[in-house]
């Protein structure tokens, strides 16, 4: 159990039965008044943020979130199937809860699944993943009229901007934090 005076940036607490992370925190105490703890909180399921001010006596349950190593198996409609590497138990996460991670998932990829109780609320990917380009315009050598970047579609369906020398069928590295092209992989 936490009390308001334990509130810090990064603390994970349960409010209205949902897990929140404290993203900003300020202690206030107007003259002779009570201690107030002003926070910005991000809902770890919906990603929505809110401002909330707490008083000294307020208490919170810690949001115990567990990370488990799993493998992405396959996608079926809006449902993404994962398997726990230890127990072989399978879970399903909706496309919506995956957020941007869906752009970088390919079958058999190892990921960390974030669990709140029994509920999977997110996926942690490696910072860099390698994915194959399945579609992009060929590069016309010597053509300087074209921009420095051109669109390319990856095997996951994700479209991003790549340098003109990248060709169809090539493997490239993507930074999953920004979704940007990072480098070409030499095979």
């Amino acid at each position: 159990m936490y009390t308001a005076s334990d509130l810090r940036k990064g603390l994970k607490v349960i409010i209205d039965e949902e897990p929140y992370i404290v993203t900003a925190f300020e202690f206030s105490k107007p003259g002779k008044g009570q201690a107030l703890y002003r926070t910005k909180l991000r809902n770890m399921i919906t990603g929505l943020t809110m401002d909330r001010t707490f008083r000294e006596g307020d208490t919170f349950e810690p949001a115990s979130l567990e990370e488990r190593a799993m493998q992405f198996l396959y996608k079926e409609g809006d449902h993404y199937h994962f398997m726990d590497n230890e127990t072989y138990e399978q879970i399903i996460i909706s496309e919506e809860s995956l957020g941007d991670a869906k752009n970088f998932l390919i079958e058999n990829m190892n990921v960390e699944i974030l669990l709140f109780g029994d509920r999977a609320i997110g996926v942690e990917l490696s910072n860099f993943v390698n994915l194959r380009v399945i579609k992009t315009e060929p590069w016309v050598r010597g053509d300087t009229s074209k921009a420095d970047f051109k669109p390319a579609t990856l095997e996951t369906g994700y479209v991003l901007r790549v340098p003109p020398f990248i060709e169809e069928g090539e493997l490239i590295t993507i930074d999953t934090r920004t979704g940007d092209f990072s480098k070409r992989v030499k095979e």
């Binding site: 003259g31 008044g33 201690a35």
Partner: protein, 307 residues
């Protein structure tokens, strides 16, 4: 090469801090005040709803030198000041340290209005002493220190800056929230602001206003939205004071906080105290204002986390 960079980087701030302390002392010496020192370790703090003392054996570290300095006033010391360390439990944030420096001064005669004027003089004097002019920059505001500073009653402030009234807010028990969210950010942004006449319940050691006993003759000084000082016309009626301490202790009990025993010697001597004014000013925060610092950490040599 210094290895403790955060500390090395604060050298200029700490040099200025020393000059500010010298300026404060000089003002009070020149205006005929006696500098006093009272014990930091005391048997019991003043029972106040929201101020928690740090225990020290069976005694406490003082949360302010208020009770001892008032006993001196009752014993015939007419103009006294003190700069000292004070401790308040669990107060830590960008504007709070659990150990901080307070300037308190008391004088007999006058009331909170004359005290506001004197408070202006002190701060202008110190600003001059450290080479600042009449204009200072703090928290993105250009603040004019020349006379007169803004004076606004708590009632007016609620009227100007909120959709509700003090009475309603007190009934809903949201006074502190309204102050912090709606009112404080508006105070002292063009010139320093005195906000005065607090609800009677919010001035446990202040005299009630004769013409309107629903408010206490208490004020707070704000510069750039930052609360700097709390002053009032002192309550010098021991029976009334005892009654108020009991109420404060009842509040403490309802919040699950320890209650404090009655400061018996203070109460026994209080009736001998002449009508007086007294004020506590946060020195660390004054340094923040003059140095345009964002956090209190920037103006002290060590924070508790750095020890």
């Amino acid at each position: 090469m210094a290895t403790n960079w955060p500390l090395a980087r604060r050298k200029r701030a700490l040099q200025q801090r020393a000059r500010i302390l010298q300026g404060i002392r000089q003002f009070f010496i020149e205006t005929g005040y006696l500098e006093v020192e009272t014990p930091h370790r005391i048997p019991t703090p003043a029972p106040e709803s929201h101020i928690d003392a740090i225990p020290f054996d069976t005694w406490f570290l003082h949360t302010s030198p208020e009770l001892c300095m008032k006993r001196m006033m009752a014993a015939g010391y007419e103009k006294i000041f003190q700069i000292c360390r004070c401790w308040r439990d669990k107060e830590r944030g960008n504007l709070h340290l659990p150990e901080f420096t307070l300037l308190e001064w008391y004088r007999s005669g006058g009331d909170y209005q004359s005290l506001m004027e004197e408070c202006e003089e002190v701060i202008r004097y110190v600003a001059m002493a450290i080479g600042l002019g009449q204009r200072i920059f703090f928290r993105g505001h250009e603040i004019d220190l020349s006379e007169p500073w803004e004076r606004i009653s708590v009632r007016e402030a609620f009227h100007c800056y909120t959709q509700t009234s003090v009475t309603e807010t007190m009934e809903e028990n949201l006074f502190d929230e309204m102050m912090v969210h709606q009112i404080e950010p508006k105070l002292g942004v063009r010139r320093p602001t005195f906000i005065y006449d607090y609800p009677a319940k919010r001035g446990a050691l202040a005299r009630l206003k004769e013409q309107d006993p629903s408010v206490a003759e208490r004020f707070e000084l704000y510069i750039g939205g930052l609360e700097l000082a709390n002053g009032f016309s002192e309550l010098v009626d021991s029976e009334e004071q005892r009654r108020r301490f009991h109420i404060e202790n009842e509040n403490r009990q309802s919040f699950g906080k320890p209650i404090y025993s009655m400061p018996a010697k203070f109460l026994a001597e209080l009736d001998h105290m002449p009508p007086s004014t007294g004020i506590a000013l946060g020195v660390d925060r004054l340094v923040m204002v003059f140095l345009n610092a964002e956090t209190i950490d920037e103006v002290v040599a060590f924070t508790p986390e750095e020890l």
